[in-house]
Amino acid sequence: MRRRGFLGRFMTTGMALSGTAALPTPLTAQEAQAQRANLPTRFTPAAYANPPSKFNPFATPDYYTYADDLAIERNQPGKPHQGKVLAAIQAHSDDIPLFAGGLVAKLVDEGYTGYLIRISNDESAGRTLGHGVVQNEIDNQEVARALGCKKAFSFYYRNHRMDDCAEIEIRARLIFLFRVLQVTTIVAMDPYNHYDENPDHLVAGRAAEAACWMAGGPKDYPEHYKAGLKPARIREKYYHARSPQGHNLVNRIVDISSYIDHKTRGNVANQGKGPAGSSGSRLRDELSKRGKRLPLLGNDHDTADFQYVKHFLMDDWRILGEKFGLGYGEAFRYIGPAPDYRGNISRYVDQHSVPL
């Protein structure tokens, strides 16, 4: 069966990346699902549905397309990323916590210096526009803290209106930050996120992708160099999907089992919007008024908020992880360092040159 061929390639090539390991067990959940589908047997599925927990409106997308070199990135001992700098770029204060909070916490724990960059002002969430902006500003700082980032930045472009912003300016600001912070790795919204209804996501993803490339160039914004900045060489990119409409190419599953509590706290920090924040304590208060209690929510607001998020809102990442034999997982389109083309050619020349 073609599917088995696909999985075979998947398992053999998954070992290629350092610090990663191939999928240890077959994708039983996917195969089971495929058997339920009406897809005739002569077709090989091109995309795999993600069964949702139905607890969280913003979780794993509807479909993933898995590359045949998919790898699982597991915890690495020690601080292998010491000296490297991570920029996690999000349009809104809840994007990174929802879709990549585990990865960011993991990379920081493994030695990265992390920065969180928010592009919008999140004005579309809140009691009034003013209250929303202030609360989300605070939330962004708190998210950064929960995930272990050193500092948070905000560009404050108008929420839901970023397709009306000059993308070139957003890109320029990211280039500046990449250079001044000497960023080596980014985590951002996939710029090719199919079916995304929020323009802010696509603009943020596109600006980040272009900035990565140009930040290393000598001719883009050369005035930065006169001010003492250095080119930034972005060597690694993790693009995350956005639910629920997404259909994303995935080539890396990150084991976030050890960081699910960090991710949970990053989401609890989003008080101004999103499905998390203080939803647990509000539910606890509401039940209390009706003379009831949910043991899951514990005896105080902090516990209620944490447990609510972990139990309900993180469940989609548990389901995703389970498919790969993990406790919790996050999915990414990972782009790694470019090969050392010149070095490879030099080595070839050294090996094959003969006397005249």
């Binding site: 930045f153 320029a172 500046f176 001044v180 005035e223 900045l229």
Partner: protein
């Protein structure tokens, strides 16, 4: 009414704190280096803009203590009579020579597409100028008038507009706060000199550039791709082919270019000067937005405050 004034007070005095309305002021040379420590950015769209409209002012301010920077916003690809690529290179090379002739410390090039700046994101240009104004700690800008009529070249008014916006925003901490991450602090631009580039454009300041005319000529002759810097030597060569010579043009190309500029390309500067009994002058619309040493509130409190 025109008024001639040699500024004796370094801060002009409170009565002159805003000179953007009213009488025309004639600014003559000031002794010593009263502007020592101050920085100007002359921002033009094309190679020959500052030489034509403001090289005398720039040379004067540098002589009086300013550190000057020259910023060109376009790539000048449309001018030079060669291929588009060769035009870009030639204008780039000549721009460095123009800056050196005026005495500027450094040159910045933004390379936006010539004649097409009205299609460029003004936010991007403005952001870059804000960065430069902060990084260089620019106190004074010299550029096109953002509101001057008669500008058929979109590069001119786009450049003027973004300069004006950037001069204001560079002093505001919530615009591009990430600059502080590189220890580049907010910096307010206090003074603006806008070119009088076309008939009908407003001006309120006439600059006596008589003692700086040689530097202006030196900058103009470097504008060979555009601006007529080599017209003297071209004329001399043509006449030589015809078996003639014009004594005005001297015996070498350098002299020919300089004397051609002096004789034929400085009529406006002579005309602007004539009404004020000067030899050469440039006109500007000057705006002074420096903070007063004492505000009206400070003065009121000082006069009226009483013990509790």
């Amino acid at each position: 009414m025109n008024r001639t004034e040699n500024f004796r007070s370094p801060l002009l005095g409170t009565a002159m704190a805003r000179a953007d309305m009213g009488d025309t002021v004639v600014e003559t040379d000031r002794p010593g280096q009263p502007h020592r420590g101050k920085v100007f950015a002359a921002v033009h769209a094309h190679l020959d803009d500052v030489p034509r409209y403001a090289a005398g002012l720039c040379a004067k301010l540098i002589r009086e203590g300013y550190t000057g920077y020259l910023i060109r916003t376009t790539n000048d690809e449309k001018c030079g009579g060669q291929s588009t690529a060769q035009n870009i290179l030639r204008n780039e090379q000549e721009h460095f020579k123009v800056a050196a002739a005026i005495g500027c410390k450094d040159v910045f090039e933004l390379y936006y597409q010539n004649h097409e700046m009205d299609a460029v994101s003004s936010l991007d240009i403005r952001g870059r100028l804000i960065f430069l104004f902060r990084f260089l700690k620019v106190d004074t800008v010299i550029s096109f008038s953002p509101w001057g009529p008669g500008e058929e070249n979109p590069d001119h008014w786009v450049t003027g507009r973004v300069v004006e916006e950037a001069a204001w925003m560079s002093g505001m901490p919530n615009d591009f706060p990430e600059h502080m991450e590189a220890e580049i602090q907010v910096h307010s631009v206090g003074e603006r000199y806008y070119f009088h580039a076309q008939p009908g454009q407003a001006f309120n300041r006439v600059i006596d550039i008589g003692s700086h005319i040689e530097k202006k000529i030196a900058s103009l002759v470097e504008c060979r791709s555009q601006g007529g810097g080599n017209l003297g030597s071209l004329l001399r060569a043509r006449l030589a082919n015809e078996g003639k010579r014009l004594p005005l043009l001297g015996n070498d190309d350098r002299t020919a270019d300089r004397e051609y500029v002096r004789q034929f390309l400085l009529d406006d500067e002579r005309e602007y000067a004539q009404a004020h009994n000067l030899a050469f002058a440039e006109r500007f619309y000057y705006i002074d937005q420096r903070q007063l040493a004492k505000s009206k509130v400070d003065e009121y409190v000082e006069k009226n405050v009483v013990p509790l």
